[in-house]
Subunit: 343 residues, 2 copies
C-alpha cells in the first residue's frame, strides 16, 4: 500500500530536506533578495503549496507575491513583465508545460527563476536558472502527499532565508520534524473523524490565513481519494455568501492553528454550531477543539506559520480513511493520472 | 422585483461609467504608472472582479498583480511591503473592514491607493488616496449585479489607461455597451439553460483565462440566489484532479470566449462529452456552442478581454432563473446580508 507508506515517509523526507536544504536555500535566496516582487507558478496540489508560499513570502520576507496566471503566457501570449521580479515554479513531476512556460518567459526577461521539483532532470528543472530538488524519493501513488509537504518545507526554507537576506527576522523551523511525527501518528484520530463524517455527499473545508492553503489541499485530497465533493473556503470568504447554503447534513472540516487566527476560528465554530452544523477540527488550539463535535488535537510546539505542514499530514490521513471506508482504490483513483499536462 | 431591474440597469450604468470614467481613469492611472507591482484587495463578488482585474493589469499594463491576503494585515500584523507598489481596494458598499485595512496599511507606506466603491462616503473611500466611484445608483438586492459589472468596467478603464501610461497599446472598449444590451436581452436563453439544468443538486462551472473570473462569479451567484452548490474551476485546474468526480448527474456550465482560449474550451467540451457530462455553454464561439448540449450564443463583436463583462450578465440571468424555478426568494436570500464585515 504505497500511499500509506508515502505518508509515513514524511518525517524522514522533511528531516533530510531541513538538513540539505538550509545551505541550498541560503544560496538560492541571494538572487531573490533584489527582486521587487515574486510570482509563483503551479497547478493542482503544487498550487495549494503556492498559496502557502505566498503567505510565507509576504509575511516573512515582506515581498508582494502573486500567483501566476499561466494562460497569460501559454494562451494569450501577454505575460506581465517579470524583469524586476523573481519567479518560482513548482511541479513535483517537473512535467507541467504551463508552469515551465512561465519560468521560460521569466528567464527570457532575465528574472531569477527557481524550480521546486522532485525530478531534477525534468522540463521544469531545465527551464529554470536554479533548482530546489525535493529529494523525496519516487512518489508512486497518484495523490501527492510527501511531495506536497516537501514543497511546503522548501518554500519555508526559501522564505526564511529571503527574510534574513532582506534584514528581517527569520522563521525558526525548530520542532517541525517532531510535529510531523506527531501528525503522522494521529491515524486513529483522523479515522475517527472520517467515520463520523460517514456517508456525507459533500464536505465544506475551512481555514483562514496560513491554514487557507491546508483547506485547499485537504479538499483536493478528499476529492481525489474519496470521491467526495469537498469545497474549500477561507472562513472570511465563506461568511461572504456560501455560509447561507450550509445545511445540517453537510459537515464542516475546520483547520485552525493556535495564535493570530484562533479567535476567528472559535467565533466561526460558534456561528456554525448555532446553524446546526457538525464541525470537525484539525487544530492545536484546545479551545477550538472543545467547540467542535470532534477534533484531532495536536500538541507539539510549532510556529504558527509552520502548522500547515503538520496539519496537511492529518488531512492526508483523513482523506485516506474516508476513501478506504468508501471502498475506493486509493492507489489508482478513477480518471486521474500522476502527471497532468495542461498548457 | 429589484434584482431583475438592477440587472436591466447595467447597459445604462456602464454607458455612464464609460463616459465619466475615461478622464478619471486617466488621472488615477498616473500614480499607478510608476508602481513596481500591484495588489488588489477585495472579498466576495468584488474578489471575483479582482481576479478579472489581475488578468487585465498583467496582460494590458504588464504589471505583476497580486490578490491581497487581508489576514496578513488584520490577523497576523505582518503585511508585505507595499511601498514600491500600488494597491486597489474594492467594495461596493465600502464597508469591508479588512479591505480598508489593507488600503490603510499601503497608505502608511506611501504607496498610491485607489478605492473602487459605490459609496464615496464609505470607510473604504476614506482609507484611500483616490476614489473611483461606480455611480451605479443604490443596489437594493443583496446579490451584487450592477456593481459587479461596474467594478469590472472600472478595472478595465484603469488597466487600459495604465497600459497607455506605460507606453503599451490600450484596449478598445468599443462595443461594450452593445454587448451588455445583447446579454441582458438573452433572458429567454438563460432561462432555457436553467430549465435544462433542472433539479441538479450541484453544478460545476468552468472558465479559463479571462473567463475564470466569470466562472467564479457565476458560481457565487448560483449559490447565493438558487441555493445550489456550484463549484468553479479554471478548466486547467479542473483537469488536475476534480474532473474525476464528475458524474453524469452533475451538469457543467462553461464560459468560453472566441479567441485565444477557444481551442481549449472546445477540447474540454469533447472530453466532458466522452465522459457523459451535460454541457451548457455561455459563449460567443459558435464551435463551442455546437459542442454543448445547449448554449447562450452571443454575437455582438467585442474584445476577448471584455467578454467577462457581458458573460457575467448572462450568468446573473441564469442564476435568477434557476432561483425562481426553485421558488427561492431572490431579494432576500436566506442567511445573507448586503454588507458582510469580515476582518
Amino acid at each position: 500500500m504505497s500511499l500509506r507508506s508515502e505518508i509515513a515517509e514524511q518525517p524522514a523526507v522533511i528531516r533530510r530536506l531541513l538538513e540539505a536544504g538550509w545551505p541550498l536555500a541560503r544560496s538560492l535566496s541571494r538572487p531573490l533578495a533584489a527582486a521587487e516582487h515574486l510570482t509563483i507558478a503551479a497547478r493542482g496540489s503544487s498550487d495549494n503549496a503556492a498559496v502557502y508560499g505566498k503567505y510565507l513570502f509576504e509575511s516573512l520576507a515582506g515581498v508582494v507575491t502573486a500567483l501566476a496566471a499561466p494562460s497569460l503566457v501559454t494562451r494569450y501570449g501577454t505575460p506581465p513583465s517579470f524583469a524586476r521580479g523573481a519567479v518560482i515554479g513548482i511541479s513535483q513531476s517537473g512535467a507541467a508545460p504551463d508552469v515551465a512556460a512561465v519560468l521560460a518567459e521569466a528567464r527570457l526577461s532575465r528574472a531569477p527563476t527557481i524550480a521546486i521539483t522532485n525530478n531534477v532532470r525534468s522540463l521544469l528543472a531545465r527551464s529554470a536558472h536554479d533548482v530546489f530538488p525535493l529529494g523525496a524519493g519516487p512518489e508512486r501513488s497518484i495523490a501527492a502527499t510527501k511531495t506536497y509537504t516537501a514543497t511546503c518545507v522548501a518554500l519555508a526554507l526559501l522564505a526564511a532565508n529571503s527574510a534574513e537576506a532582506r534584514g528581517r527576522s527569520a522563521l525558526s523551523l525548530a520542532g517541525l520534524v517532531d510535529s510531523v511525527i506527531e501528525a503522522e501518528a494521529a491515524e486513529r484520530e483522523a479515522d475517527r473523524l472520517a467515520r463520523r463524517i460517514g456517508r456525507a455527499r459533500m464536505i465544506v473545508v475551512l481555514g483562514r490565513g496560513y491554514e487557507y492553503a491546508t483547506a485547499l489541499e485537504a479538499a483536493l485530497k478528499v476529492k481525489e481519494l474519496a470521491g467526495v465533493w469537498a469545497e474549500p473556503y477561507s472562513s472570511a470568504d465563506f461568511a461572504h455568501g456560501p455560509i447561507s447554503l450550509l445545511e445540517p447534513g453537510i459537515p464542516v472540516l475546520l483547520f485552525a492553528a493556535r495564535g493570530a487566527a484562533q479567535r476567528e476560528a472559535r467565533a466561526m465554530s460558534r456561528t456554525l454550531r448555532k446553524r446546526g452544523a457538525r464541525i470537525y477540527a484539525v487544530t492545536n488550539d484546545a479551545g477550538t477543539a472543545e467547540l467542535a463535535d470532534d477534533a484531532v488535537l495536536l500538541g507539539a510546539p510549532l510556529s504558527e506559520a509552520l502548522t500547515p505542514i503538520s496539519f496537511a499530514v492529518v488531512a492526508q490521513l483523513f482523506a485516506l480513511s474516508l476513501a478506504t471506508r468508501r471502498g475506493r482504490d486509493v492507489e489508482h483513483p478513477r480518471g486521474l493520472s500522476k502527471v497532468t499536462r495542461t498548457r
